[in-house]
């Protein structure tokens, strides 16, 4: 397994982590104890039979391992890369008590990459039931649900508002973490099972809610795409971006390759990013690759950062400066950003999230020079569709309320993923989508 050196990788958007070789994969697989009661499976939101596929890797039968994984997960090359395995399957691995847990994520990725090169066939589509299901959004939740529903023989139509499927996998996560050919491949595999994809279709606009409700069932997987802004003075200055906009310009529109691609993005020489989640790390590292000196400002301490440890480490290796216990309070500039004023923060008692609440310390204001300021402080549910679905029950943050089966307050309408939870992980959205798809199948049988 190899990670490309930082000084090389900051010059391009190619993948940072190059994965296991065959020998490394087999050696890692041989470490698995093949527990009688494997805890790792409980840690997997989509319930992959982890010991079974690892045993097949150890035997050298990678195609068979791929077959096991795809029984539970149609997006393994994606999940192998972006799942937080360290808090899921790998955290439960018994080997972690004494040494380090089996690198399950890397193994999943190895198998998926091998299968992609070998062209392992997707599972057969189920016998046609004649039932029509509409899936709204083609991100992790929508694609997973579509795969499950098609496998059960339902006629699935996905509505996607952008010109390309994938949702956050396409517009949000940069190629250095998740190469776009892999996203295309795994999504196309799902589509190849007879799933119909309609891009450029904005539900509520290109198709009305009434038209949508004419389907036998509807699954909402519209994600959490509404960027939150900090409401700071100077927020409208040129050079202030939401992380969503900055990353969409690069990942979906390829602004990093301007003028070969038409969409521009400002290449800041001094960039400030606010936030410390995975999206903040992605934005900071993307800005670094566009040639900027990047400072990431976070109001709490480094140990409180919500991003994955590996992403924080990669960001640091790539020369991102972390300013912790500080919070932006004002953006300066006439028409374009020239600096970000921050105030130092004191860590107080833990709040509801279990993290210490951060309180500004008076008279500690300082300015970081910047020509770009990117806000990565979180996202809410996509507002457009939901505003037109006015009768659906929603929580305080605007999220759709759904039960464990994904059922919403409207009959035949299910929801899964970030639209129900607010921004969470790819795999949690996939797990919820699987449950919702199963519930839809049960409902359609009756």
């Amino acid at each position: 397994m190899a990670v490309r050196p930082a000084d090389e990788r900051v010059r391009d958007f190619s993948e940072v982590d190059t994965g296991f070789s065959r020998e490394e994969a087999i050696a890692e697989a041989e470490r698995c104890l093949q527990c009688k009661k494997p805890l790792c499976i409980d840690g997997c939101p989509v319930g992959i039979d982890i010991p079974a596929f690892i045993a097949l890797i150890a035997e050298g039968d990678i195609c068979a391992a791929a077959g096991i994984i795809q029984q539970s997960n149609m997006l393994p090359a994606i999940c192998g890369r972006v799942c937080p395995q360290e808090t899921q399957c790998e955290e439960r691995c018994i080997l972690g008590n004494k040494e380090s847990p089996v690198r399950i994520g890397q193994l999943e990725r190895y198998v998926a990459d091998f299968a992609r090169k070998e062209g392992v066939l997707p599972p057969e589509r189920g016998k046609n039931t004649g039932k029509q299901v509409a899936v709204v959004g083609s991100g992790p939740a929508g694609i997973t649900a579509a795969a499950e529903l098609a496998a059960a023989g339902h006629d699935v139509t996905i509505f996607e508002s952008l010109h390309k499927p994938g949702g956050v996998l396409t517009y949000g996560i940069p190629a250095f973490r998740l190469p776009k050919d892999i996203v295309d491949y795994e999504i196309n595999r799902v589509l190849s099972r007879g799933v119909r994809l309609l891009c450029n279709h904005v539900v509520g606009r290109s198709i009305t809610v009434q038209e949508l409700l004419a389907y036998d069932a509807v699954l909402l997987g519209t994600g959490a795409g509404l960027p939150y802004f900090m409401n700071l003075p100077g927020e409208h200055l040129n050079g202030v971006y939401s992380a969503n906009e900055f990353l969409t310009r690069i990942n979906l529109m390829h602004a990093d390759r301007f003028p070969l691609y038409d969409t521009p993005v400002i290449r800041g020489s001094r960039v400030v990013v606010a936030g410390a989640g995975n999206v903040a790390m992605d934005a900071a590292r993307a800005a670094r690759r566009l040639g900027g000196r990047v400072t990431l400002v976070y109001r709490r301490r480094e140990k409180d950062m919500p991003a994955r440890a590996a992403e924080i480490a990669h960001a640091r290796e790539e020369g991102i400066t972390f300013v912790t216990c500080a919070n932006p309070v004002e953006i300066s500039g006439e028409t374009v950003v020239t600096g970000v004023s921050c105030v130092k923060m004191n860590m107080c008692e833990a709040d509801e999230s279990g993290r210490p609440s951060a309180v500004p310390i008076p008279d500690t204001q300082f300015v970081i020079d910047a020509d770009i300021f990117i806000q990565a402080i979180g996202q809410g549910p996509n507002p457009l569709l939901l505003s037109l679905f006015d009768s659906i029950s929603r929580g305080k943050a605007g999220n759709v309320i759904a039960d464990a089966d994904g059922k919403t307050s409207l009959p035949r309408v299910f929801a899964a993923g970030d639209v129900t939870t607010g921004s969470a992980t790819v795999i949690e959205a996939m797990g919820a989508a699987k449950k919702a798809a199963k519930a839809i199948c049960r409902m359609l049988q009756d």
Binding site: S161, L162, H163, Y171, L198, C199, N200, H201, V202, R205, S206, I207, T208, G225, L226, P227, F229, N231, E235, H236, N238, G239, Y241, S242, N244, E245, T248, R249, M253, H254, F258, P259, L260, Y261, D262, T263, P264, I266, T335, N382, P383, L384, S387
Partner: protein, 279 residues
């Protein structure tokens, strides 16, 4: 892929295209817009829906940047990669009484759809369409056929009233009771013209055209200040209360990528010139 079924230059450097896009055409309402992407390397740009017939949508635009130049070069029968929509909130159509629709330059393109909808809602509709010069004036006949009255202005006096649309609106506002006004055109024209109706507090709408990316509320690129609140033009607009919009901020944000837009256009012209020479 979506087929361009017709393409015409209807005034100097102003083009009309019809795009086969049933998902847009069958749902479009007055005041809404589409996002178009010409090809695989193209950007996404918002353009107002000017009219619909059956499964087709009419878009009218001036060739100013790379994308609009490229779009102008597409012949009938050829395809564009993407058209998403209809996007944005429709115009607030109701029975107001007497409505005035003011269009400046290519902004006139938005008016026929709104005018028709207002007529259907039993309003008296007065059109004021203005351009720099007669050769830039569009949709005169169409607007004449819809509106109860139509005034034409040109900055240079080459057709109709010699002056600005705002002058005519001022005259109307002084002499008649106006119940609702739409002003659609270049940002500076909307800013100036909106002042006319401020004092009498005539309900006045403008349609904003900030820089957008997705057009569905996911990026915030199009954020505008309206009455001290931040609004996303793509989902909260594009039409807003003309007397509450911060036009100066909008103009500042519209200039965010001026330099890159110039580079893009230069490359496009270089490329099209070389390919012509090669032929």
């Amino acid at each position: 892929m979506y087929t361009i079924t017709a393409s015409n230059e209807i005034a100097e450097n102003i083009f009309e295209i019809w795009v086969e896009a049933p998902h847009v055409a069958t749902h479009a309402q007055a005041g809404q817009f589409v996002i178009i992407r010409v090809d695989e390397t193209g950007e996404r740009i918002p353009l107002t829906i000017s009219a619909v017939t059956g499964d087709r949508v009419r878009i009218i635009f001036m060739a100013v940047g790379k994308t609009t130049h490229a779009l102008a070069g597409i012949q009938a029968g050829e395809d564009i990669a993407d058209i998403a929509g209809p996007l944005g909130k429709p115009s607030e159509i109701e029975k107001y009484g007497t409505c005035v629709l003011v269009g400046g330059g290519v902004g006139i393109a938005s008016l026929p759809f709104i005018a028709q909808s207002l007529k259907k809602a039993d309003n008296r509709v007065i059109g004021i369409i203005g351009a720099r010069s007669a050769n830039f004036l569009i949709l005169e006949d169409e607007m004449r056929s819809i509106c109860d009255e139509l005034c034409i202005t040109t900055d240079d006096g080459s057709k109709g009233f010699h002056g600005f649309a705002a002058d005519i609106l001022k005259e109307l506002n002084n002499t008649r009771k106006l119940d609702a006004v739409w002003i659609i055109g270049p940002t500076i024209m909307m800013k100036v013209t909106a002042e006319v109706t401020r004092e009498k507090k005539v309900q006045t709408f403008v349609s904003l055209n900030p820089i957008m990316v997705d057009g569905t509320g996911m990026c915030g690129s199009c954020r505008c200040r309206v009455g001290n609140e931040t609004k996303f033009a793509c989902v909260d607009g594009p039409e807003f209360d003309a007397h509450a919009v911060d036009f100066n901020l909008l103009m500042q944000r519209q200039r965010m990528y001026t330099e890159m837009e110039r580079i893009s256009l230069e490359r496009f012209h270089e490329y099209t010139c070389t390919s012509r020479e090669e032929q």
